[in-house]
């Protein structure tokens, strides 16, 4: 014990040896604080936690520096589920005396068990929410929330008390008793839980007495006559025929009862079990159908994929075919070109024959070299061939053989459109006109007028055009 004034260690003397202050009253205060602490400790040992809180609080009222009392109070609060109050006491205890204080050990243990800490805090939160629901009039919501909370077996005594109260209200006395027992197992001296339990017991006693009042009075025999026996039961008088014994046997009514019972049983089976069985079979069938549908879907997807592959292959084949045709055309072109060149070089074919041969060759399918040969031959033969064809065509025109004229003059035009500086075009247009091909005639006449306005036959062409 230290002096409250100077902090010096006190002896048994009624004054402080250091400052001389009278410490009699102070010693008594400390003594009373310790008495209450001892009482609180005893109550805590027998799990009367509410009583322990009261005693320890009194102890601290006398001496706030009674660290044992404060630490124990925190522990008791923690055991009752009052986490915040427990931590408050330990924090104050550590502030009063930081060195070698059990409170710091307790707080460290609590901090280390994070899961437990969160769980307790969550419990408190849910409990507070239940109270809010009750205030708002939502008793059912509060009950459901509290039921979930209780199922987790928290330490919070208040939760069990509240649950007990709600269950009593719902007349679920057995469950209420169980809840209150749990509260009392945490805090044996919890007055509220004891009060509710007492009330429950009284309610049960009252119910028991009510049941006893309803029990029927024993019957009393009054008299027996020749053919009947008469007796009373309560307020009723019962007259029963005498001498006729009741035989337990298998009679027609019994048989009928058995049949009816069998029918009822069959009906129960039919209406209760058969639908369930049918449902199970249907479910199995549906599952199989679903499985088959899945298989079908995957097969369809496979078929579609194969179709796409087939189309792709067909496209490739077509492309290959086209390439093959092009190659074949090119080869044929080369052969024709070589043949024509050889014939022309040897002098076996004239310019007209070679020129006609060249028109059947596809120049674009040839290679660069081939195209050079083609162009060379064309240069050497087309002009001469055009002149020959023009001459033949004009002769045919003059002989009124317009079909032949058209054929020859068309070929001449294809080889050299500028031959004759417009004369070729004129005779071709006139041949078209005479042959009845009015559209082509108009086109050629117009071309003559546009390209060769100084040609001698332009006037004739204009006249012919105006008539068409």
């Amino acid at each position: 014990m230290r002096c409250f004034k100077c902090g010096c260690v006190l002896t048994d003397a009624p004054y402080c040896a250091n400052c001389g202050e009278d410490v009699t009253i102070y010693q008594r205060i400390i003594y009373l604080s310790n008495i209450h602490y001892n009482e609180g400790l005893k109550r805590a040992e027998i799990r009367d936690l509410s009583g322990a809180v009261t005693s320890l609080s009194k102890s601290l009222k006398y001496n706030k520096r009674n660290l044992e009392a404060r630490n124990l109070l925190g522990l008791v609060y923690y055991e009752m589920g009052y986490l915040a109050e427990a931590l408050t006491e330990w924090i104050i205890s550590v502030n009063i005396s930081p060195a070698e204080n059990l409170a710091s050990v307790y707080m460290k243990e609590v901090e280390n068990d994070r899961e437990q800490l969160d769980s307790m805090n969550q419990t408190i939160r849910k409990y507070n929410q239940c109270l809010q629901y009750m205030e708002a009039g939502s008793d059912d919501l509060a009950f459901i929330q509290l039921k979930k909370l209780i199922a987790e077996k928290p330490k919070l005594v208040d939760a069990y008390q509240l649950m007990g109260l709600l269950l009593i209200r719902r007349r679920q006395y057995a469950s209420a008793r169980q809840c209150l027992q749990r509260a009392l197992s945490i805090d044996r001296g919890n007055l509220r839980a004891i009060y509710y339990n007492t009330e429950l017991r009284q309610m049960n006693d009252f119910a028991g007495r009510s049941q006893a009042e309803e029990r029927p009075e024993p019957e009393t025999k009054v008299r027996r006559e020749k053919n009947s026996v008469e007796y009373t039961r309560g307020n009723d008088t019962i007259i029963q025929p005498a001498g006729k014994a009741y035989h337990e046997g298998f009679t027609m009514p019994s048989a009928l009862n058995v049949v009816i019972g069998a029918l009822i049983g069959a009906a129960i089976v039919w209406f209760l079990f058969v639908p369930a069985k049918i449902q199970a079979v249907r479910q199995e069938t549906n599952d199989k159908i679903l499985s088959f549908s899945d298989d079908l879907a995957s097969k369809d997807a496979e078929i579609e994929d194969l179709n796409k592959q087939l189309q792709s292959v067909q496209t490739d084949v077509t492309t290959a075919q086209q390439q093959s045709d092009t190659a074949a055309a090119a080869i044929s072109g080369y052969e024709s070109l070589l043949s024509l060149q050889q014939e022309y070089s040897a002098g076996n074919s004239n310019a007209l024959t070679v020129a006609k041969g060249l028109t059947s060759i596809n120049r674009d399918a040839l290679s660069t070299k081939g195209q050079e040969i083609y162009d060379t031959l064309k240069q050497e033969t087309y002009a001469t061939a055009a002149a020959s064809l023009y001459s033949t065509g004009k002769k045919a025109f003059n002989n009124e053989d317009y079909a032949t004229a058209v054929t020859n003059l068309e070929q001449a035009y294809a080889m050299d459109p500028t031959y004759g500086s417009g004369d070729l075009i004129y005779y071709l247009a006139a041949s078209y006109e005479k042959a009845g091909n009015t559209d082509k005639a108009k086109t050629m006449y117009q071309q003559l007028i546009d390209q060769y306005p100084n040609n001698s036959k332009v006037t004739t062409a204009k006249t012919a055009l105006s008539k068409l």
Binding site: F4, K5, E21, I25, Y26, I29, S33, L60, K61, Y62, N63, K64, R65, G81, Y82, L83, A84, E85, L87, T88, I91, I92, L117, M120, N121, I124, R125, Y127, N128, L131, M134, L156, D158, Q161, L162, L165, I168, R169, R192, Y196, E199
Partner: protein, 47 residues
């Protein structure tokens, strides 16, 4: 007989862990020793 409405009023919310700071600050820590000190101080002032 338990009066449900009256009993419900006796239930109060429990403090959460976040309220510890507030509880510590609001804690009334005056004890008999503090009162004794005050009384001795007053007595000395009078004399």
């Amino acid at each position: 007989m338990i009066d449900f409405e009256e009993e419900i009023k006796k239930f109060h919310p429990v403090h959460e862990i976040g309220e510890v700071e507030e509880l510590v600050y609001d804690k009334e820590l005056t004890d008999m020793t503090d009162i004794l000190k005050e009384m001795l101080k007053d007595r000395k002032k009078k004399h």
